[in-house]
């Protein structure tokens, strides 16, 4: 059980939740969060790591209160305890060269911690971040600390602004049409793109087989265990 130190609304239906004394994970990995003893809903909610403070061992999540599960999470107060399982999933790879991160809406969550880890792994590299939102932006400023370029777009198509080039590494997380548009552009320019998928999952550890996706080769992959990060060409036929 882990104690909530912060659970605040920062934009419409968008919350940040922080827990203390939490285990560390890598960018792109996620935890299952569950209200102790809850029967409705009784499953945990998979939330990717938004940030981790190594000194204070505080893990932070960014989530949208959308259905009954996340709405229940949103009702919790600092001091209350929560069940935390994980970290689960493969996480993002850490390449050497220049990187570009493309996030859409609540999909910016795993990219935030990724930006931080990429900067730390290699302080001199060039990091470009593109963030797209439908109506209002959030958490934009906290990306500024770790990147060289930051582009924000409200109401448009963020991927249209991104220049893809061979040799750089690209990462994306957001709505499916956005990620597919990025995959298409990356393929055209033969750029390496990693996508972080979202799926409905029950266990988060690869046992229930509820979150499988199909690869372009027709095989099944578990989003929770084999992913959630995949090479775009492995899962998107564009």
């Amino acid at each position: 059980m882990f104690t909530i130190v912060k659970n605040e609304m920062i934009a419409e239906d968008i919350y940040t939740l922080s827990l203390k004394n939490a285990p560390a994970g890598n960018a792109g990995q996620f935890f299952m969060l569950r209200v102790p003893g809850s029967a409705d809903p009784f499953l945990g909610r998979p939330l990717s790591i938004f940030d981790y403070d190594e000194d204070r061992k505080i893990v932070s999540f960014l989530y949208q209160a959308k259905g009954p599960g996340t709405q229940l999470l949103a009702s919790l107060m600092p001091g209350q305890k929560i069940e935390l399982q994980g970290p689960y999933g493969n996480g993002f790879p850490m390449p050497d060269g220049s990187v570009t991160l493309i996030g859409g809406g609540i999909g910016i969550a795993p990219l935030h911690y990724l930006t931080k880890q990429l900067r730390r792994a290699k302080p001199t590299r060039h990091i470009s971040v593109y963030l797209g939102f439908r109506e209002e932006g959030y958490m934009v400023d906290s990306f500024k600390l770790y990147c060289d370029e930051l582009h924000v777009d409200i109401g448009g198509q963020i991927t249209a602004n991104v220049g893809f080039s061979l040799g750089d590494t690209y990462f994306t997380c957001g709505p499916e049409p956005m990620m597919m548009a990025a995959a298409k552009a990356a393929r055209k320019h033969r750029a390496k793109l990693y996508v972080s998928l979202e799926s409905h999952m029950a266990c988060g550890v690869g046992a229930c087989l509820g979150c499988t996706c199909k690869t372009t080769q027709g095989a099944n992959r578990r989003v929770c265990k084999d992913g959630p990060v995949f090479l775009a060409e492995e899962v998107y036929n564009v």
Partner: protein
């Protein structure tokens, strides 16, 4: 751990009466990274089909009030791969090894059962109750005659004790259970998921490609408990109970209703430690209630 939880079902001894339910624990690989799997009484494998399957396409899960609908569709590597790779792995984990076998035809079941004669398993769980595969398991489990026929065929072709897993989607589960008992089943496990449905009203279409899906979780528990009670009142063979068990109290209720052991499924998804906590809780209950063995409370209601 004392001997208070030692349990015998179908002539097989288990460390305790807590078994991981089929389809919720894979072959034990994933959860063995997270919990001490060796403490479990048994593990029932992911539902196997003769040739294996990629499972259903489209959405596979939906959480519902106190439950979940699934339409996985028996994604599995096939009996062959199980016998070669998974059964030996499960044996090394320690708990009693149960192979869960589904099928699309009588011939599938018989061939699958014959192949499993080469596997080092303790119990064969016959799945005639999976609701998520067309012409699949459940068709055989809906009427007593066909349930009896498939039970008899598999029993004749298997060297393993036979546990038949029943569907709750029937008019009289007692009649199906009795038919299986008469056909040679050594035990009955119940219940598989309840057939349910969900509709996306914005898209104006069913959530699942198969339209119907299987409901599990605490939502089904009172009905499952009643069915275990009814069945055990009529059959002499062992009954393994399941359906929405979340904690020790739930497990005790199923044992008192007539189950000799319980299976835990969806609750493991919610918290991987659920079964270990139940085992500890049962041990504690035995101490507090001065039981020499947990079986003393089985079927007391």
């Amino acid at each position: 751990m004392s001997e208070k939880l030692l349990t015998t079902i179908l002539g097989v001894e288990l460390k305790n009466p807590v078994i991981a339910a089929s389809g919720t624990f894979g072959f034990g690989r994933e959860y063995s990274e997270l919990i001490d799997v060796s403490r479990l009484g048994g593990i029932s494998s992911k539902g196997l089909t003769l040739k294996g399957s990629l499972g259903n396409s489209g959405r596979r899960l939906l959480e519902t009030p106190a439950g979940m609908l699934n339409s996985i569709g028996l994604e599995n590597p096939g009996v062959d791969t199980f016998v070669r790779d998974e059964a030996p792995y499960m044996r090394e984990l320690g708990p009693v090894v149960i192979a869960n076998l589904g099928g699309h035809s009588e011939q599938d079941y018989v061939e699958g059962a014959k192949m499993l004669n080469h596997a080092d398993i303790d119990i064969l769980e016959l799945n005639i109750s999976c609701p998520n595969v067309k012409e699949g398991g459940m068709a055989f489990g809906l009427i007593p005659e066909s349930a009896a026929k498939i039970t008899k065929l598999v029993k004749e072709n298997s060297r393993h004790p036979l546990l038949v897993k029943l569907s709750p989607n029937v008019t009289s589960i007692v009649e199906v259970a009795l038919a299986c008992e008469e056909a040679g089943a050594n035990g009955i496990s119940l219940v598989n998921t309840f057939l349910g449905m969900a509709i996306d009203v914005e898209k104006k279409e069913a959530v699942f490609e198969n339209v119907y899906a299987g409901l599990s979780g605490p939502a089904i528990r009172p009905i499952a408990l009643r069915m275990v009670h009814e069945v055990k009142k009529h059959v002499k063979i062992d009954v393994v109970g399941m359906g929405g068990i979340m904690n020790t109290i739930d497990a005790l209720a199923f044992l008192m209703a007539g189950a000799s052991a319980v299976q835990v499924g969806s609750a493991t998804f919610a918290n991987p430690e659920t079964m270990l906590k139940i085992i500890d809780g049962l041990e504690e209950y035995c101490q507090l209630h001065n039981l020499n063995n947990i079986s003393e409370i089985c079927g007391i209601i």
